[in-house]
Amino acid sequence: MTMTIRNLTRRFGQTEVLRGIDLTVEKGELVALLGPSGSGKTTLLRIISGLDWPDAGQLTVAGGDWLAKKAEERRTGFVFQHYALFPHMKVRDNIAFGLTVLPRDRRPPPVQIRARVAELLQFLQIPHLADRYPSELSGGQRQRVALGRALAIDPEVLLLDEPFGALDAQVRRDLRRWLREVHDATGTTTIFVTHDQEEAFELADRVVVMGAGQIEQIGRPDEIYDHPASPFTARFLGLTVEIPVNLRAGRIEAPGLDGSALSRRAMADGPATLFLRPSDITPVPDPEGAFRITEAVSTGALLRLRLEGPADCIAEAELPRRAGVPGLIPGQRVRLRPEAGQIFPGGPGPVQAAAVPSLKTKESLQ
């Protein structure tokens, strides 16, 4: 089955939550919808599952119109961030639920259901939890059960809404690996929503970056990481340093900036903005440098520098602390050598080099 979404829109009152979504998901793919909160990714997932309805657009699966189908007919097995297990049922009954509610003529006999549940429990590595109630499980165990419950109905497409959002870092990493294994073993087409780029990049075959109700970029993780297609994606993916530059013959020019490590761009001459990750900036001590270190903080592994440049340009750089570049102390003048970065035409709107605050504003707005 191939899922095709065409020009999907959804508004809640005055707010346009989805503004024309076009997306195709191939059979067996593992796709991440990545974006800040309020970008519409959960709404899109809910529309696919039938828990919400678009105002306009098309949703077809294997050529069939899914918008003509009710949620209970789509077999999506939606997995919620907070698990939504049935608290009065044991784990095995939770997992069996989807099979026991099948119409009588399609419902497998109890023996078969029991066998299928046992098989799933084994496969999900939780057979010892079969007779527990959800309240007796940890968060990670609950999410495994929730996934088992969804997989039991052999879903057309598996939908997960921030599945690891409520778990702590270690469990998250374990479950991520485990989910990838489960996906590879079952081959179930899977779409999951996350605001954590590490999670999206590690897990997904393809990442769909969403912002303000639109798809900003679709691509393989590395592709998106190396070549964010828009300032929005760049900022969201951690290219938080924005420096106004001038382009001439595909090379950047700016005071205090050494662009020799950057490849030449096929772009028109004129003002542009260079987007950088703090970790891709190497500060080189230089008494004539246009940037000055105003702050140096160690996080243990990293040395984080705050730099002030010409025209109120503020940048941040991160480098391994033990690399031990001497002279990187507050007050020192440096020039910056970007190792990688993305250039978008046009000068900066407001001269605001550090994009982290502007991203926060975006989130708090929604």
Partner: protein, 278 residues
Amino acid sequence: MSAHADPAPAALAPRESRLVPRLLIGLALLLTAVFVVVPMAYIFHRAFAAGYAVFLTNITEPNTLHAIWLTVLTAVIVLPVNIAFGVAAAWAIARFTFPGRKALLVLIEIPFSISPIIAGICYLLLYGRNGLIGPYLLANDIQILFALPGIVMVTMFVTAPFVVREVLPLMQAQGSEQEQAALTLGASGWQIFRRVTLPNIRWALLYGAVLCGARAVGEFGGVSVVAGKIRGQTNTLPLQIELLFQDLNVTGAFAAASTLTLIALVVLVLKTLMESRR
């Protein structure tokens, strides 16, 4: 509060501060005894004062027996209707937004805030001989007032909020994710209700039903207006007690009263058992 945060453990507290709690506890016990325990004990004492045989004679007096029957019948009719109404209303208010949702919430609470006798009078004015619908009912030979339908309807009105009030906060707190999960797993509306919603609210629902039942059995004010107090026909147990008392049949009144009290006590015990299970 943790043990260290409390600088003065009870044993070391000054004398005065030990006196105050004791005084308050004593007062609470005394008031409970005077206002609750003694009157209730007295009901049973008076009911059985002349011996068990007399009590039995009084209770099995046909009019009293009929009153017990009518009361139970009313409760048996009212309870399922109000449970259905309560669950439906709670479901609608908790799960959907629709125009008039807030108004519905307020309307449901009205029976709590107005005196039952007003409900009785409303029904009288509506269905009475000179009322709005009365002449039509009369012409079609439908008896609502001074008969079982009137009693049932007023009781229903008075006890309508109990189930909603118990179930709604729980449904709101639980949210609808479980139901949505069930939906995406292929469950139909009825399956979701029976297998997910109902088990989640079962204790609140039972609790509300118990309270509703207790109130339905004990309802006096509203019913006294619409029942017409015809002995052996439209007297419920509370009305029968009043009549016996007015007849100066004190033993009879107390016998009936003790029966009603017994029902209330059973309900109370049930309720307490349920609370401990919640």
